[in-house]
Amino acid sequence: MHTAMQQIINGLSLGSIYALLALGYTMVYGIIKLINFAHGDVYMLGAFWGYFIINKYHVDFIVALLSAMIVTAFAGMLIEYLAYRPLRNSPRITALITAIGVSYFLENGMSYLFGANTRNFPQVVQQHNYTAFGISISNIQLLILVTAIILMVLLQLIIQKTKMGTAMRAVAVDQEAAALVGINPDHVISFTFGLGSALAGAAGVLIGLYYNSIDPLMGMTPGIKAFVAAVVGGIGSVPGAAIGGFLIGLLETGVQAIGLSAYKDAAVYVVLILILIVLPAGLLGKNVKEKV
């Protein structure tokens, strides 16, 4: 019972990071039907920014987090502008292959510029462990969970209550009709990339604190897992991505806890395959037919 509770806590804090990442996948997919394979690398950029600004300017956690979000928001908008916008009217597969190219570019570019070695992420927050009823939780786990939840609530408010958020939903439903009411779809798409990338940047700083190590390829596996989380939740669905992220985090820690650490990644892919077979639209996805 204790170990189960313990694993749930560990799973939720890891899952909240996947959830933050999955939100970016799902928002971008929702609006331009692109699986942005470079999204995991934006998360890496966020972690590197956090590393840089904490070491160099000794800023605190909040400043590191917020500045990483701003930097990655701009990085995401730049990627969209340079790599994806020129392909807006191209076949989808072209944009997909480009996304893979952008991902390689960021991974190798960062390795080239800063070296491929693993670095220790500076610990801006001193770790303390609290133990109650035999369950141990660290202040960093709490910080991750609380930060992720605050960001998700803010995201939900932006999407549901603001003019730009409503425009995002309108463009996701029907880009042409959105243009006919005076929305500039390019602005909305750019905003969506910025928002999703900011969440990825936040996730990068949080994972740096949690695992204490970063490297230029750190985005690959979490990127894929977050993508799985988005598919599990129903790609295009914002609440679905959040739930999917937590589920994948719980699954991964659960598999580790029963002594199958070596298979924790495989378990995630098994879930992906099962979901695609049983529930192709995901948990909260709409079973929309492709428009012709």
């Binding site: 003019k163 939903r169 500039n184």
Partner: protein, 233 residues
């Protein structure tokens, strides 16, 4: 107000519109009638900036539109109710209407909204409902209300009566007359030629991407060729 000359629009190798001339004067209702596939929607999409013409000019209030983006064209005063309604499913009725007023300053939106609710009381009743749950006729009213929220001087309506029950069709045509009576110029695309010509000042018959005939609504209604081809007589 709107002057279209020599308009040609292609989809890849397909020439959908092959040199069309027409104009709409301030205050008029002008209709483009013609059967399915004639090129009517392509014409209004070009006017709205969703498609780029391969040749020809679209001039609105002395301003060329062919290089403006769709959202700029809305800003210039032209709104479109697209074929098939195209309301934003998943957004509430109210959110749909607010999106219609995307370019209208916030402090002026209340007046426009009150006016739209006057014209379409059912939208007020349904304001918090997901627009996808509205009936076909209600969705058409929402699409019209959404376009009116932009306060257009020229309203383009692409087959507003398509797929509606007869009682709604009559209602839609009454509303178009009313909107026009309040000072909005209307370009009405219809396959329902009889009713369109009855309310229009002038009409153009479009076939195979060209203008086959034009004249006043009355003259076209009386024209034997029009009667034979479009009025089932």
């Amino acid at each position: 107000m709107l002057e279209v000359t020599g308009l040609k629009v292609n989809y890849g190798a397909i020439q959908a519109v092959r040199g069309v001339d027409f104009d709409v004067q301030d205050g008029e209702i002008v209709t483009l009638i013609g059967s399915n596939g004639a090129g009517k929607s392509t014409i209004v999409k070009a006017v709205s900036g969703l498609l780029r013409p391969s040749a020809g000019n679209i001039v609105y209030e002395n301003r060329g539109l062919t290089h403006l983006s769709a959202s700029r064209i809305v800003g210039a005063g032209i709104a479109q109710v697209p074929e098939g309604r195209r309301i934003f499913a998943g957004l509430s009725t109210m959110e749909n209407l607010k999106m219609g007023a995307y370019l209208v300053p916030r402090n002026e939106q209340q007046d426009v909204l009150a006016n739209v609710f006057d014209q379409f009381p059912v939208l007020k009743e349904r304001r918090n409902q997901d627009a996808a749950t509205l009936s076909g006729g209600e969705q058409q009213m929402l699409a019209m209300g959404r376009a009116l929220m932009a306060r257009p001087k020229l309203l383009l309506l692409d087959e507003p009566s398509m797929g509606l029950a007869p009682i709604y069709i009559q209602k839609i045509f009454d509303i178009i007359k009313m909107i026009n009576g309040q000072g909005t110029t209307v370009l009405l695309i219809e396959q329902n030629a009889l009713q369109a010509l009855q309310i229009a000042n002038r009409g153009y018959v479009i076939a195979s991407g060209t203008v086959k005939l034009s004249g006043s609504g009355k003259d076209l209604l009386a024209d034997p060729a029009v009667q034979k081809a479009y009025l089932g007589g």
